[in-house]
């Protein structure tokens, strides 16, 4: 009975997950993949997920952006002096977040510029025209910060004029703060994802040492990067996708075989037979 209630609760809580909506049945099937003794641990791990819905994402982005714009206005930088930049590929979460913020906060109507981070020439031209202002990067989640900082450092070689830098994101891992601070990219995040929120970290008290080691062993048994990219074992899941830093128990194997996840990443979903032909 307890299991059924847990599955119902999970299905209700994560029903909006876009890559693969969760049903009561699939929540049950997910837990049943694990040995009887491990199921309780798996379900407890699932309870530790910090799920950010679409409306929460929008709300966070708009709120953080409002705060940032107010602060910049006081500092002498009105909206027309702001350039919003998406990082990573054109179809990445960053572009989606930026589009969401653009529409919800009327960025263009307020006179802000919006640039794809890969359009270096566009960025140089915009910076050249404005001369002095702020660059606002928008992303859905920042893990270690390595990927973001690598891309940011490359485009920074082309900066023209005097610009302060900011990042708006629903959630950012504590590991990224140091790297961002070195570059003076100021963080406006709805949530700072600290290690004590991650059950597979010693800093977190959800599991005892033995249970934690058991879950780590299961993850590493499924995949050599079982704890996610850089071993971050993060627990933040966004309605749109799960970061690659999430433990593999939650997101499943590549192609969802042999283990399927509650939060499969879009890139880990099997390609439908029709699409393959």
């Amino acid at each position: 009975m307890r299991r059924i209630i847990h599955s119902i609760r999970a299905a209700l809580r994560f029903r909006g997950y876009k890559p693969k909506p969760l049903s009561i049945l699939s929540a049950r099937r997910w837990a049943q993949q694990f040995d009887k003794n491990d199921r309780v641990l798996a379900e407890k791990l699932l309870d530790g997920v910090i799920y950010i819905t679409e409306s929460e994402t929008r709300e966070i982005l708009v709120k953080q952006n409002d705060d940032l714009m107010s602060r910049l206005k006081v500092a002498g930088l009105p909206a027309k002096k702001l350039i919003y930049v998406s990082v990573h590929d054109a179809a990445s979460s960053s572009s989606v977040m930026l589009n969401m913020l653009r529409d919800s906060a009327n960025l263009e109507r307020r006179g802000c510029k919006i640039i794809d981070g890969r359009d270096t020439l566009g960025l140089v031209k915009a910076m050249n025209t404005i001369g002095e202002g702020a660059l606002v990067y928008v992303d859905d989640f920042v893990g270690s910060g390595t990927q973001f900082c690598t891309e940011r450092d490359f485009i920074a070689k082309n900066f023209v004029g005097t610009f302060s830098e900011f990042i708006i994101s629903p959630s950012i891992c504590e590991e990224a703060f140091d790297e961002l601070s070195k570059r003076d990219v100021q963080v406006f995040a709805g949530h700072k994802h600290v290690k004590s929120e991650r059950p597979l970290y010693a800093e977190c008290t959800v599991f005892n040492e033995k249970q934690r080691q058991r879950l780590t062993a299961i993850c590493n048994g499924i995949d050599k990067f079982g704890l996610g990219f850089n071993g971050l074992a993060t627990m933040v899941i966004l309605y749109r996708n799960a970061p690659n830093t999430v433990p593999v128990m939650l997101r499943g194997s590549s192609n969802q075989k042999p283990y399927f996840g509650i939060f499969p990443r879009t890139t880990d979903l099997p390609i439908p037979a029709q699409a393959r032909s």
Partner: protein, 347 residues
């Protein structure tokens, strides 16, 4: 569900300019455009030892951009880096307090001043990072209304050959420039690709009717595709094409064969540079002869014992002649420079 704890930085304090402040290393931001290899490790160590003993005696110069929490360095990057190292080593001031850097806070530089400062750093940069420099140079040329190499050399500190290379990059349409600004080194086209490809493109479009019809952009795209397909394994291989052309100057049948090959090379995606042009450049005797000529020229000059030549006329004539030799040698040496981007894997 866990509570979301928002994170926002503290409001930066606005600091009046023209002020001497004592800043901790955390309050200072290193320069983005300052490449690490700019600094000589031994000199840096010497400076660090000195700072450890006496502290920073000459204040660094910083500014604070609007909305920025930290101070950006305008002058004093080496002193800052030494201080960062000392703080990492756990050093404290004589009074046991945290180490601080004296800093003159000035107004943020104007756009052009910022660019000119960046150029002074870019002087030390290698060729494969030339596209950002070229873009900045374009802004300087437009804002200051000059494209003269000598004036630009004075303004930016870039050498005239560097300026010339930047200008070559700017000759390409923006869609091609963008390819050298790709953050991913695996897909980035190195700046040197355009510089080396330019004479080949000019020659091909001048001599081939088919390529003329195809147009300059499409012909350029064909070279890019070949490079991506590893049919141009090194940007230096473009020189084989030009060398083949130059070497057949006095041999009409061979020259027309080279021109046909150039056309085929553009139009057939499978043809690789070396297999198409190596037969024209196998002769290595020219370079050996040139090396021997350099050697005997130096031996002869030394033999003449010219250092104490007394006659004004003779000295003046000799200096003129040497200057001519020097100019030619420098231009030749400059032309022989060039390499692949070390980040570009074409093997």
């Amino acid at each position: 569900m866990p509570i979301l704890n928002p994170s926002q930085p503290a409001v930066p304090t606005i600091v009046p300019t023209g002020q001497l402040r004592h800043l901790t290393v955390e309050q200072v931001k290193r320069s983005d455009s300052n490449p690490r290899h700019l600094f000589d490790a031994d000199e840096l160590l010497e400076l660090k030892t000195n700072i450890a003993e006496h502290g920073v005696l000459v204040p660094i110069t910083v500014y604070q951009a609007k909305g920025q929490a930290k101070f950006s360095i305008l002058d004093g990057e080496r002193r800052y880096r030494c201080m960062v190292d000392l703080v990492k080593e756990g050093r404290r001031g004589k009074d046991g307090a945290e180490l601080t850097l004296p800093a003159n806070v000035v107004e943020p530089p104007t756009k052009i001043a910022g660019l000119l400062y960046m150029f002074s750093i870019h002087n030390f940069r290698e060729g494969w990072e030339l596209m950002p420099t070229a873009l900045s140079l374009k802004i300087v040329m437009a804002d200051l209304g000059t494209s003269d190499n000598k004036s630009l050399n004075k303004l930016t500190g870039l050498s005239e050959p560097q300026i010339e290379r930047c200008k070559k990059l700017l000759l390409f349409p923006e869609k091609f420039q963008e390819l050298s600004l790709d953050p991913d080194p695996k897909t980035r086209i190195p700046s040197n690709f355009w510089i080396e490809a330019l004479p080949v493109l000019d020659l091909a479009l001048e001599t081939s009717d088919q390529l003329k019809k195809l147009g300059r952009d499409r012909s350029t795209e064909k070279l890019v595709e070949k490079y991506r397909d590893k049919k141009i394994k090194s940007v230096i291989h473009f020189r084989r094409i030009m060398e083949s052309y130059e070497l057949t100057e006095d041999d009409a049948p061979a020259r027309s064969k080279v021109l046909r090959r150039i056309e085929e090379f553009f139009l057939n995606p499978k043809l690789e540079t070396r297999e198409v042009f190596d037969e024209f450049v196998v002769e290595k005797k020219r370079v050996q002869n040139a090396l021997a000529a350099c050697e005997s020229f130096l031996i002869d000059l030394r033999k003449f014992r010219l250092r104490y030549t007394a006659s004004d006329d003779e000295r003046s004539n000799l200096r003129r002649a040497l200057h001519e030799v020097q100019e030619y040698c420098e231009s030749l040496e400059e032309a022989l420079k060039g390499s692949d981007d070390p980040e570009a894997s074409q093997d």
